[in-house]
């Protein structure tokens, strides 16, 4: 090759008209190996190379193009090239320069980059497999939620049926209590199934649904006002919270005063703490109360312990139940 080629840092390969490699500069030898004999060892695209060389043959100036390099991985873009026809009488040979590919001056670094590229390739494949597996699991999880919802609905129907068939007032009351608790679980489960997220559900939607259910099960016209922030609660918080809210609302509806009976539920968040307040305008709370109500409060206290919260009950123009509990990292406002 002409000595002036030593000034060119990009790989330059000279091809004869039949595609034989007749010469290479040093960067080209470093890249393709000194023993490369055919265009096949440099480029992967016969027609692309033929077109480029044909265009070069029509001009005395270099022509631009892009060609796939031999051994290029699928993600690798085509190499930018310049081709120049070299005329000696009737004979034409072609010099092709790989643009923007500087000869390998840092072989150790290049080797490391290649290793990293290979690792990235493997990781991408693994990631693709994991994503596929995750998608499959999501389908299974959704199917599971769907079945749980259906089973809960079925249990609820059986319990309701048992209540209707019984003449015993004690049993009827027990069934009603059971129905109320199951309804709370069913509401939470139904919302979870309808939500796109498999990690949790919207507290405001869940509390509104619960309020409607409690209202309909109470069998009396009573206004329940729900004011809740749109926080997403993870599943392990949502279900106990649903049962607590159900219990407090049921009590509030039960004891709210006659004609102007009113019940409210407020759910507010401040930092990593949440406070749920259920208020009615009934006679207020009697600390010594016993019976079903106190057993309900026992359940609420137990569930409060489960979610790391505590319950305060006071009388203030009616009964006021305040449940405070920490929000986990998974709880957040929906986007």
């Amino acid at each position: 090759m002409h000595p002036i080629s030593k000034l060119i840092r990009e790989p330059v390969i000279v091809f004869a008209g039949d595609g034989r490699v007749t010469d290479m500069n040093r960067p080209a030898r470093a890249r393709f190996g000194g023993g490369a004999e055919s265009w096949r060892e440099v480029f992967a695209d016969l027609h692309g190379l033929q077109n480029l060389l044909e265009r070069a043959s029509g001009s005395a100036d270099p022509v631009l193009g892009a060609l796939r390099l031999a051994g290029a991985v699928p993600a690798e873009p085509d190499a930018k090239v310049e081709a120049l026809a070299l005329r000696q009488g009737q004979e034409i040979s072609y010099a092709v320069k790989l643009r923007d590919i500087v000869g390998d001056q840092f072989p150790a670094l290049t080797a490391q980059v290649r290793e990293l590229n290979a690792e990235i390739h493997v990781r991408r494949r693994v990631q693709a497999e994991l994503e596929e597996s995750l998608a499959h699991n999501k389908v299974l999880y959704r199917e599971l939620q769907h079945r749980v919802k259906n089973h809960l609905q079925m249990i609820l129907a059986l319990v309701s049926s048992a209540g209707r068939e019984s003449e015993d007032p004690g049993r009827k009351q027990f069934v009603k209590m059971l129905q109320s608790k199951l309804s709370a679980l069913f509401d939470a489960q139904r919302l979870m199934y309808s939500e796109e997220s498999s990690h949790g559900l919207r507290v405001d939607q869940m509390l509104s649904a619960l309020a409607e259910t409690v209202q309909s099960l109470a069998g009396v016209r009573i206004a329940i006002q729900v004011r809740a922030e749109p926080v997403i609660a993870p599943n392990d918080l949502a279900f106990p919270l649903a049962l607590i809210a159900n219990e407090l609302l049921t009590n509030a509806v039960k004891y709210a005063a006659g004609e102007g009976a009113a019940v409210s539920l407020d759910f507010v968040c401040s930092g990593d703490q949440a406070v749920m307040t259920v208020r009615d305008n009934g006679p207020g709370f009697a600390p010594t109360a016993s019976g079903p109500t106190s057993s309900g409060l026992g359940l609420v206290r137990g569930l409060c312990r489960q979610i790391g919260g505590h319950l305060v009950i006071q009388s203030d123009g009616g009964a006021v139940a305040v449940v405070s509990f920490p929000l986990t990292e998974a709880s957040h406002a929906p986007s």
Partner: protein, 176 residues
């Protein structure tokens, strides 16, 4: 509400010329004039090849003669409103001139677009007569009042700024 009555200087030709001006301007700004000229040469050579094939088919000849080449180059420029005419035709050269560019005022400051003319002229001439050396002596794109293009038909050592074109050869690469 129809906006047909608005006096907006916009139709397909105007839009395409604007597009070409901005495209060539972007090329010049991004990769520089020399490399932009290289890219436009690729387009010019392809356009030249297509036009050459059209004229040869229309004239039903295998190769155009020197006279036909001159007529074809003038004709194709006139068809695209380039207003080129032959100033001089000799054994070794054809000289063309024009007072208007096919790209109109959109060519100002876009000398890379002159590679379209150089390549189309060079390709048609080289392909039919075997050799062409195209020299753009004056160009509206460079601020001259008109264009002046000389197509030399014989090789000459040290061709200066002119670009040389040859009849293309498709190499038969061994598929091994």
């Amino acid at each position: 509400m129809s906006l047909d009555h608005l006096d907006i200087d916009l139709e397909r030709d105007m839009f395409l010329r604007t597009l070409l001006r901005e495209l060539s301007g972007a090329l010049q700004d991004v990769v520089g004039l020399e490399e932009a000229s290289g890219y436009i040469s690729v387009v010019g050579a392809a356009v030249g090849k297509a036009l050459d094939e059209k004229y040869r088919a229309a004239l039903a000849v295998d190769r155009l003669s020197a006279e036909q080449v001159a007529q074809v180059l003038v004709d194709l420029k006139q068809r695209i409103k380039g207003d080129f005419y032959i100033v001089e035709q000799r054994e070794d050269r054809i000289v063309f001139a024009s007072n208007s560019c096919p790209f109109g005022e959109f060519v100002a400051g876009r000398p890379a677009l002159c590679m379209m003319t150089s390549n189309v002229f060079g390709h048609v001439t080289g392909e039919n007569l075997g050799y062409a050396r195209v020299q753009i002596d004056k160009a509206i794109a460079r601020g001259d009042p008109g264009c002046h293009v000389t197509v030399y038909l014989t090789p000459k050592e040290g061709g200066g700024e002119a670009r040389e074109y040859f009849r293309r050869v498709r190499p038969e690469l061994a598929d091994r």
